[in-house]
């Protein structure tokens, strides 16, 4: 539901299982959750996350049902509680939820008593994304490490740039990475990054100057501007690009060895230029790849922990 509810031991377990399941023979793997029923409940469109969770669940052999806002009773005004209870009555043993309101996974869990995986709730969190980002970083910075502790990322500085205010990816990362010893720098203009962000948790800093932030970065995580959540906020995009766009020149000058991440979808030419997105420092496609492994571990955990079949 939130990365804050995961202990570092649990994070280690998820990373370990992700590696194990990824390496396992697909036929063997498909027996793990054979005949188990998982519902994907998506109130917002999402290609990347939905496909990733679906592939993960199917890879473990489970049956999945997709309920999306465009194809169901959701449209007819049914409440989240009632939709959840219906899915449970239909035999769902876990629900993967993407929802436009922050905190909705708690409501769904409370009302259905089923394990709920948070696939993104409002502006709040996107825990599986933070875990796959972590796996991507470890793969390059700490190869082979799956057991993490409070010092694992000591000396690593991760800069998250752009529309922090509306980003659930940013929140999950800023709440997770400092617990592994990383420094997190948030970078963006005040309307997209309020000063109170530093108080969201320990180990978080704010640096408004992108180039100064870049110069300190081991990892740069670029975020898109979420136009749909701007809620009347006026933003001069040309000004924004001048100050915060990650282009080849900036990267070469201030962070020539930094890893470049982006949770997608990317808007080429806005927050990031094509040469950087497709360049040698970019790990954007690798992130997508790690997503399936992490989500296999999460789905397995959801169904074996509370289902009593450990």
């Amino acid at each position: 539901m939130s990365v804050t509810t995961l202990t570092l031991d649990e994070v280690s377990h998820i990373l370990t299982r992700a590696s194990f399941l990824e390496a396992e023979d697909p036929l063997e793997r498909a027996k793990r959750l054979a005949k188990r029923k998982i519902a994907l409940l998506f109130y917002e469109s999402s290609t990347r996350t939905r496909t990733s969770f679906e592939l993960a669940a199917k890879g473990l052999g489970s049956d999945t049902t997709l309920v999306s806002s465009l194809s169901s009773s959701i449209e007819k005004g049914e409440t989240l509680k009632d939709t959840g209870l219906t899915l449970r009555a239909l035999g769902a043993e876990a629900i993967i939820l993407r929802h436009p309101n922050s905190g909705s996974p708690w409501l769904l869990e409370q009302e259905t008593r089923l394990p709920v995986l948070n696939a993104g709730d409002g502006m709040h969190e996107h825990p599986s994304q933070a875990l796959l980002d972590l796996r991507t970083m470890l793969n390059h910075l700490r190869p082979g490490v799956t057991q993490v502790g409070p010092e694992t990322l000591a000396g690593v500085t991760v800069t998250i740039v752009g529309d922090i205010l509306h980003s659930r990816v940013a929140r999950s990362n800023m709440l997770l990475l400092p617990r592994l010893g990383a420094r997190v720098i948030l970078c963006g203009p005040p309307p997209l990054l309020p000063d109170v962000a530093v108080d969201a948790g320990p180990g978080i800093e704010v640096e408004r100057d992108f180039e100064r932030a870049l110069a300190q970065s081991t990892v740069v995580m670029m975020l898109r501007i979420q136009a749909e959540r701007l809620a009347g906020l006026q933003l001069d995009l040309e000004e924004y690009k001048t100050a915060y766009q990650l282009n080849g020149e900036r990267l070469a000058k201030f962070a020539p060895t930094a890893l470049v991440l982006h949770p997608g979808p990317i808007i080429r030419g806005l927050e990031i230029t094509p040469e950087v997105a497709d360049g040698p420092q970019s790990l954007i496609l690798e992130q997508v790849h790690h997503g399936v492994a992490i989500r296999m571990a999460l789905v397995e955990r959801a169904l074996t922990q509370k289902g009593g079949q450990a």
Binding site: S102, G122, E125, V196, D199
Partner: protein, 438 residues
């Protein structure tokens, strides 16, 4: 009507300056005698309530409740809301006009007070300041007052336009009515569902900045000042601005300053605002969602300070019942508000009196004499001879646990379920009738 003798209790009547063992005789809905123990002369043939070891006080007065009728009987009815009031020791409640339809008229005002509503305690309707709470066209205050309204407000829909608020204050003053403002500059709170700050940021919720509250309080005080300077008081009435459910330190400071400047500006604080903070939102609990929202610890402390040092004039619950299905939704979609009538006395006694050492008489005054005076409810908030026979009798020492499943209210939306309270209500008497027996 029968005669009632309340015998052996410790009477605390701050407005009358009484704090000691007294016997009280109630007859025909009024207090007819307050005498030393055993010395009452008019108690012949009276039914006796033995209040030995108990505190006897004027029935409590809540000047901010939502009884939901007409039109929203699935949340609460006047009968269930006032039954909850009686259980909480209240004998008079002022009902907010955001009903369906809104209380814009003498007809609705009278309908709310009609005997058919089955009210346990006295209901004082508050009229809508503007038609349908839209902040555009003023209602007819003279007609509303004649029908029984005790104040006007657009509670829940703050009056933002300066010219309209100026006119509301002027008309209300002319008619001897108080203006109650729900101070929230809604231009700053669009889409927001809790207090602005680090907690809201972490939870991914849009926040309501404190300035949305105190900015409007400051604006209203400026309008009152202008009205006074323009000579509005010559007509005999002084403008009275009452700030509803104050929640920010700066709003209390603004009220304090206005009073120093000689203005009649008052404010109330709800128990949740002197007890809880934004941290109680926790995992998106909709029982911690209200408007104004739970604020920071510093704001909460300022509410306590304001109560202790006297700038706060009343404790009011903002009792706001909502049906279970309305609260069992996403935090951002849930309606604002919690119930409060049954918990206000127990929480106030436990925290203000027991924990923070406020004298019992002062706590009771904030719950009866002061709010009654504030809305000019004659004969309420005191047990002086001639007053209404509105009495609460409680055991000041008894600790008890609030169980929402036993609530008399139709709704169950409270964050105080399972909380330890102090001061168990034993009897509530409204105009001479026993309306609750605990």
């Amino acid at each position: 009507m029968s005669t009632l003798l309340i015998r052996g209790g410790h009477l605390i009547d701050p407005a009358a300056g009484v704090d000691g063992l007294k016997d009280i005789v109630l007859k025909d809905g009024r207090v007819v005698e307050v005498a030393a123990p055993g010395k009452a002369k008019q108690a012949e043939g009276a039914e006796v309530i033995d209040a030995t070891g108990l505190t006897v006080a004027p029935g409590l007065v809540d000047i901010h409740v939502h009884l939901r009728e007409p039109g929203q009987g699935h949340k609460e009815t006047i009968a269930t809301g006032t039954a909850a009031a009686a259980a909480g020791g209240f004998t008079a409640v002022a009902a907010m006009p955001n009903t369906t339809p809104t209380n814009d008229s003498p007809e609705i005002t009278r309908w709310m007070q009609a005997p058919e509503r089955g009210s346990s305690v006295r209901v004082f309707p508050i009229g809508a300041a503007t038609r349908a709470l839209k902040g555009e066209v003023l209602n007819d205050y003279a007609a509303l007052k004649a029908a029984g309204v005790v104040a006007v407000t657009d509670d829940g829909h703050p009056i933002l336009k300066d010219n309209i608020m100026r006119e509301v204050l002027a008309q209300a003053t002319r008619n001897g009515l108080s203006v109650i403002q729900h101070a929230e500059d809604t231009r700053m709170t669009q889409g927001a569902s809790m207090n602005a700050g680090a907690t809201a940021f972490r939870l991914g919720l849009r926040g309501m900045p404190p300035e949305a509250e105190y900015g409007l309080v400051e604006r209203d005080i400026r309008l009152v000042t202008e009205l006074v300077h323009a000579g509005a008081t010559k007509a005999g009435h002084q403008p009275h601005l009452h700030v509803a459910h104050t929640s920010t330190a700066q709003a209390v400071a603004a009220v304090r300053q206005a009073r120093r400047n000689g203005l009649r500006v008052t404010c109330e604080v709800a128990p949740h605002h002197f007890l809880l903070t934004e941290e109680h939102v926790g995992c998106y609990s909709t029982h911690a969602k209200m408007n104004p929202p739970l604020r920071s610890a510093a704001d909460r402390d300022a509410m306590i300070q304001g109560i202790l040092d006297g700038v706060v004039d009343a404790i009011a619950t903002d009792h706001a019942p909502h049906a279970a299905q309305e609260k069992e939704v996403e935090f951002e979609r849930a309606p604002n508000g919690i119930t409060g009538l049954e918990t206000a006395l127990g929480l106030s006694l436990r925290w203000l009196h027991h924990e923070w050492k406020m004298p019992l008489g002062r706590v009771l005054s904030l719950l009866s004499a002061q709010p009654a005076a504030l809305l000019n409810l004659k004969g309420r908030g005191t047990l002086a001879v001639g007053s209404f026979a509105d009495v609460v009798i409680f055991d000041p020492k008894q600790e008890w646990t609030y169980q929402v499943r036993d609530s008399k209210s139709k709704s169950r939306n409270t964050p105080f379920d399972g909380w330890t309270m102090q001061g168990k209500v034993k009897w509530t008497i409204s105009e001479g009738r026993v309306v609750y027996r605990g």
